[in-house]
Amino acid sequence: MLLKKFFNVGFEGIAVLERRGCGLEDLERYPLFAPQFLDFLRKAIPSHRHAEIASAVAITARRPAFSSPKED
């Protein structure tokens, strides 16, 4: 879905160079998240997903050498 958005605006050479799971343990590193919020996530998200709630990806793409922005 996200990669399609890259394509739709005109990027080329779109590549996913890294992909790794991001779970509750990873979120604990972030000062953005209070312990109460992490507790809420533990309860709200099924336990089988705790180790991988989302994926962290690295994406690269290129604006074609001969291109102009698409109109909205």
Partner: protein
């Protein structure tokens, strides 16, 4: 389905990032090399909030112009400035005034004359068309309610042949509705 309007989402995110404080470097230490972190002000390291290391894939060259979308306290902006050197330039863009101030302070502490930090929206980048060689971003695109707009803006400011390198979070499976409705989850 969007649970927050554009303005509400921005307000929640601004507030969360303005008040964030940290005296640990756990996020930065997870993604960056110790010798990279050793070159940066402690504040930039402790306020790293990204989800990867997009510069590893950006292949920056001396003299290039770089834009860091959602630069936060500046960790990637500063490392990019070191990579492109004095003949290059880096623009950090962030919508949270407190983060803009932090990034500017960190660039100043490092004596970097090739860094400019702007306050603004990634959906409306305050730069001319085709004005940068590389756009990088770290854990920011997922925060926008208008991701296609952000990408279109990145495309616009890149010169033809320019490169984009981002690290971000994607959902492989929808989160429960309670989580999607949570302002704290939105800000993360």
């Amino acid at each position: 389905m969007a649970y927050f309007s554009d303005d509400a989402a921005r307000s929640i995110i601004r507030e969360a990032y303005a008040r964030v404080r940290s005296e640990a470097a756990a996020v930065a230490e997870a993604y960056y090399e110790p010798d990279e972190l050793a070159r940066l002000p402690r504040g930039a390291v402790e306020l790293a909030l990204g989800v990867g290391h997009p510069l590893r894939h950006a292949l920056l060259q001396p003299g290039e112009a770089v834009l860091d979308l959602g630069c936060g306290a500046g960790i990637d902006t500063l490392l990019a400035a070191l990579a492109v050197g004095p003949t290059g330039r880096v623009v950090g863009l962030d919508m949270t005034p407190e983060m803009v101030e932090r990034a500017r302070r960190h660039a100043s502490e490092m004596g970097l004359a090739n860094v400019q930090v702007l306050e603004g929206l990634i959906e409306k980048i305050p730069l001319p068309d085709a004005s940068v060689d590389v756009v990088v971003s770290n854990g920011v695109l997922n925060l926008s309610t208008r991701k296609s707009r952000v990408l279109a803006e990145a495309f616009r400011v890149l010169r033809p042949g320019g490169r984009l390198a981002i690290a971000d979070l994607v959902l492989d499976e929808a989160l429960p509705e309670d989580v999607l409705k949570s302002p704290a989850a939105l800000a993360g």
